[in-house]
Symmetry: C2
């Protein structure tokens, strides 16, 4: 619900009252403000918000005794002098809430101020005394004095009005007239505009908010390898049209550009490409991660750098820089798709940096550079940067210049490879610097690591983060994890991006479950999380063969070879994906994680949840059969009262996956989900009018 | 478990290293320290500890990548210059723990420091490489360099030893010898003593700990009204021996002193007295809270002040100041019982303060003083202080002088009446000031109010607090509340004191349940909480008649009259109370709330829990039938593996309430609790030796 800014009071930055009034004894400030949210690590890190949303601020505000309180939320943009204020409203249990609109892609500051409101106290107590039949004579006089004091804080007509009210309350009016005057709404409004704030409590710190563009809060991502982007019918022909049928020619930026309509029809917003830079030849990995590549094998895109260039160059087989810029432009202008690059801070043995800056790498005692490893695992085709280098400043500046370079080429989104192997301070600095000059840039952290490390990266500035989603398969696991992500303070700094598969991960669930499992995981990712992504075409073509039993690596992984993807295959999941992405675009409830709730289902194989916007104007109900083998059915309990549906009232559930419509009644309804047909419902509830016609 | 201080390093207060080393680039500090506990509101308030315990400090400590970490906990007493250090140990999930002993009744400060440990990293990785059969030649040289650098931080024999080790590692020893040298424990110890801390992370703040005496953490309290302290056989005789049999003479401090052996036998540590000051006559309350008292009615002890004096005077019918001091001294010296006074900051209409300091009270427009109220409720016999008085400083100093005065008379414990109607800032100042000069003083907050207010008072310094215990009756309620109190950060600043009854509260459960309910509530209070109290003799005599149906007030409450208590009555609960208090004294597990866990019982009417000390040397298992009407039975599941008991092994459960001994076996055992006999077990598990004899 969008709160209007009720009072915009332009007060000097810092918002302090004149020295004389503030010289008042600090021990007189009785109101307590604590438990402020969003507040990340006591204010050490900014909270996150997205452009266009209202930031919801809450706090515990209370005082000794029973006096009533007034409270405001103060806010300003980081560069602004003036603070703005908006009133906060009490919830229950001493919790207060206020909101302010995030209208610019800039950093914001906010704080809170609260005070004892004698008038509200008096008026409330007057009501209680009156109900108990007590004599109010003296109380009216007490009120008159409070109003008189307020008049001293006002001027002009307001001052006059207040003095008049005070005089009347002290006068000889009849009880009924005094009572009406005391409860007069206009008087209350005037008093509300002139509270005594000389002994207010100001929250002890200003808190920061960092604003990201809307795409950071909501987006459907598609990852593909340009190397395999050629249309399958071209796959057998070389550039000259005559290569042998068996080989696959290397895909190009132009091929990717030709793929854009396919992605746009499926409804994706972001196209994420693995690294597009030249690939090293020394110790290049071969098919299925073989230690050495054959002459024609392309190697891993993450082994960046060769004599053809490093992180600021494009792989010559992908095309030219101009072709890349064209891809970015066409994607954005024509299809509304943002191209995201992979930022992988590491080098192949052939990267120019090794010649130019050997000091940026760790040396072994024999003078060789230490390759990447996590003992005993060795990654011989990769050299990591040594962040302990004496030339720390030079290294950091160069690494930032890579980001700056690609921003100049039009890129606005970076998916960052393994950020947890680089210092937190580096990311905090890098992202902070980039956001200063380019606040619209988005950084996604791909850190599959320990939870506190993942959360720290998010605090340091990563706009989105990969998660443990792929391994949350049972209802209990999903509920527990979503609770952690959406009901704890994690939600103030960590934006999840749910990927059912990645080039490194095809889960056992997908390996075992086939089509039903793919659809199940797609629906879960795309409805539980406002940000999600798939690695395709592996996903829509349901590729699920592991490299070996018990592994999550793909067999014949695209990381090491060009693939032939027959995207036109009849059984492709492209239509389901289209339906889901359309549902996400058409139902704003799916564009945030705030309104997520789980619902009771009598069958533990079925998970049921809903999302709704704050005002409940958009509601989506999802039921998913987690058992990819067997049909499952059960009774679902929905909190329909909150959606203005009466017990026993009929309404329609429109399934946007299949187009089917079901008539439901009241809170308890039956679902049957056959994985062989469609393992999930994605319902938009629709009311029925008295004429029988539907409306939203 | 008491951790020894492994390293006591005397470093200057503030603990900063010399400027030269610290001039090092702050961006090089890779280790993160967050989530420190205990930390109350970001360090705004001190955490609590009791003298003699070890303070357990935990934090999340981690870095990017996989390097190993070293961490120390730094601590010092508030007035000390020197910091001491003790090593922290890793738990799991990046959580680290350290402890330091609280050896003085003084404020402490602590902080944390952590760094990358290259040697530990090298040694760990060496192990992993060796297990994978990798060649270690270069790795030994890497280790040699690390050791050589450490030698530069050492001197004398240590330096020599390290240089020697480094040289040997770089030399031509055989693999087996190099391996043994690399893993040498002595080398590891030397390296551990000389870590490179030039790029360590120092936690961003020093945290405070306020220390209270042991009695703040563990005590059994007994509240009684001196006015009724005369022995029942005396009740009918006046001081001169000749008063009519029907009336009760006013009890005195001497009578209370005569009552001490009774309390000592029951095993109480604290004797808490309602206010002992003169009681006002104007609008004195009569029997059962009648608006006006008859001529001989004593009034409420909380209506403090008359022409006979105020908060620094004693009620003449109780005796003299000397008699009070004698009571305090005899209680402490002879019986080990501490006398606690009631600190009630309010005045009767007759209190001297009203004449001396009318400006400390709120005036109505007609010039009269506003009595206490919570509209529409009126308390006409009480005038509250107006903390908004212009003479705030004078008021605060006078109120503190009351505490100082009674401290001079020997009092060390104050139970504070309704602190939530006085400003938080006042309590924070008062308690802080008193603790500076008298760190052994204990303040108990009697604030039956909203939870956040109760917690704020504890943060502000109250050493103990009344709780919602009286209204937690079902198993679910008890478990939920105990979890809140013992498993959340609340435990770092809030010490519960559980009272099954007070002069204001006789619960429906006690009204309905009679003897069984009284025993149940006694056992729950006395075993769930290390601090508990009862209002007697009402409790042991099972007085449970309410003033009217649906009320929690006592009928003929002792607040308004002298009572005849026949403490020798045969059915008194004094023996059960003795047994429970003895169990508390003899089993250290019951002297803390830290080791509390709930256990599965197949019958929801039975709640089962255990407490144990950190080293599990003291274990107590409690099973309580919450149904005061019917016998209940069921199967209890205990985690006996943690107590070194094997599956199927027999052991004894010694019930300290009845003396009965039961032979139990393994984790799953049967209990039957008949409320008509004894509704609870309080078990001390005892092993059986192979000879069949028991030992602890």
């Amino acid at each position: 619900m969008r709160r209007e800014v009720v009072e915009t009071r332009a007060v000097p930055a810092g918002g302090r009252r004149p020295a004389a009034a503030r010289a008042d004894d600090p021990f007189r400030r009785r109101v307590v403000i604590e438990g402020v949210s969003p507040e990340v690590d006591g204010g050490r890190f900014p909270a996150k918000a997205t452009l266009g949303e209202d930031l919801v601020v809450e706090a515990d505000i209370f005082t000794d005794g029973t006096d009533a309180i007034g409270a405001v939320l103060r806010f300003r943009k980081a560069g602004e002098e003036q603070w703005h204020e908006t009133r906060m409203e009490p919830l229950d249990n001493d919790r207060w809430r206020g909101t302010f609109p995030i209208e610019e892609l800039a950093a914001y500051r906010f704080s809170l101020e609260a005070w004892i409101d004698d008038f509200l106290t008096w008026r409330r107590d007057l009501g209680r005394r009156q109900e108990a039949g007590q004599d109010l004579t003296l109380e009216y006089q007490v009120g008159a004095r409070i109003i008189e004091e307020a008049a001293g804080r006002a001027s002009g007509k307001t001052e006059t009005a207040l003095l008049t009210a005070a005089a009347r309350l002290s006068g000889r009016l009849r009880g009924r007239e005094l009572w009406r005057l005391a409860l007069d709404e206009h008087l209350a409004a005037l008093m509300s505009a002139h509270p005594d704030r000389t002994r207010s409590t100001l929250y002890e710190r200003d808190l920061q908010v960092r604003v990201d563009p809307p795409r950071a809060g909501f987006g459907s991502w598609y990852e593909m390898f340009p190397r395999s982007a050629q249309a399958v019918e071209d796959a057998g022909r070389g550039k000259d049209g005559g290569a042998p049928k068996g080989s696959v020619r290397h895909g190009t930026f132009r091929d990717v550009e030709a793929r854009l309509p396919y992605l746009a029809v499926m409804g994706f917003d972001v196209l994420y490409l693995p690294p597009i830079h030249p690939i090293g030849r020394t110790r290049r990995k071969g098919k299925n991660n073989a230690a050495e590549a054959g002459a024609r094998e392309p190697g891993s895109p993450w082994a960046i750098g060769s004599e053809e260039g490093g992180h600021k160059a494009v792989h010559p087989q992908l095309g030219t820089l101009e072709e890349f810029r064209s891809l970015v432009g066409v994607a954005r202008e024509k299809h509304g798709i943002e191209v995201a690059l992979d930022l992988a801070y590491q080098c192949s043995p052939d990267h120019p940096y090794l010649r130019e800056h050997p000091e940026w790498f760790r040396l072994l005692p024999d003078g060789n550079i230490r390759h990447a490893e996590n003992p005993p695992k060795k990654y011989e085709d990769i050299y990591p940067f040594d962040f302990n280098t004496p030339d720390r400043e030079g290294l950091w500046l160069e690494l930032k210049s890579i980001v700056d370079y690609w921003i100049e080429q039009g890129v606005r989104i970076f998916r960052v490879d393994n950020p947890h192997t680089k210092p937190f301070a580096f990311w905090e600095w890098l992202i902070g610097e980039v956001k200063q000059s380019h606040p619209e840039v988005i950084f996604l952290a791909e850190a599959f690591t320990r939870p506190k490390v993942m959360y720290r990266l998010a605090k340091c500035g990563f706009c989105q983060s990969y998660t443990y989603f792929a391994w949350k398969n049972t209802r209990a696991e999903l509920m527990e994890y979503m609770t952690e992500l959406t009901q704890t303070p994690v939600r103030d700094f960590f934006r999840p991006n749910f990927w059912p598969n990645t080039p490194d991960i095809v889960t056992e669930y997908l390996q075992q479950g086939g089509r039903a499992a793919f659809i199940t995981r797609l629906v879960l990712a795309a409805t539980l999380s406002s940000n999600y992504g798939i690695y395709g075409p592996a996903f829509e073509l349901m590729e699920n063969r592991p490299r070996e039993r018990g592994s999550e690596e793909y067999l014949d992984s695209e990381k090491y070879e060009m693939k032939r993807w027959d995207t036109g295959r009849a059984d492709s999941l492209r239509e389901v994906i289209s339906s889901i992405n359309a549902a996400r675009r058409e139902n704003s409830a799916l564009q945030t994680n705030r309104g997520l709730r789980f619902h009771q289902v009598s069958n533990e194989h079925i998970v049921c949840f809903s999302k709704q916007t704050h005002d409940a104007r958009s509601v989506v109900v999802v039921a998913v059969n987690l058992d990819y083998r067997h049909p499952q059915s059960g009774w679902v309990e929905l909190p329909v009262a909150g959606w203005d549906i009466e017990a026993g009232e009929k309404y329609q559930m429109h399934d946007v996956l299949t187009g089917a419509r079901y008539t439901w009644s009241g809170s308890r309804n039956f679902v049957l989900l056959d994985p062989a047909v469609m393992p999930a419902h994605v319902f938009v509830p629709r009311r029925q009018t008295s004429s029988g016609r539907e409306f939203e």
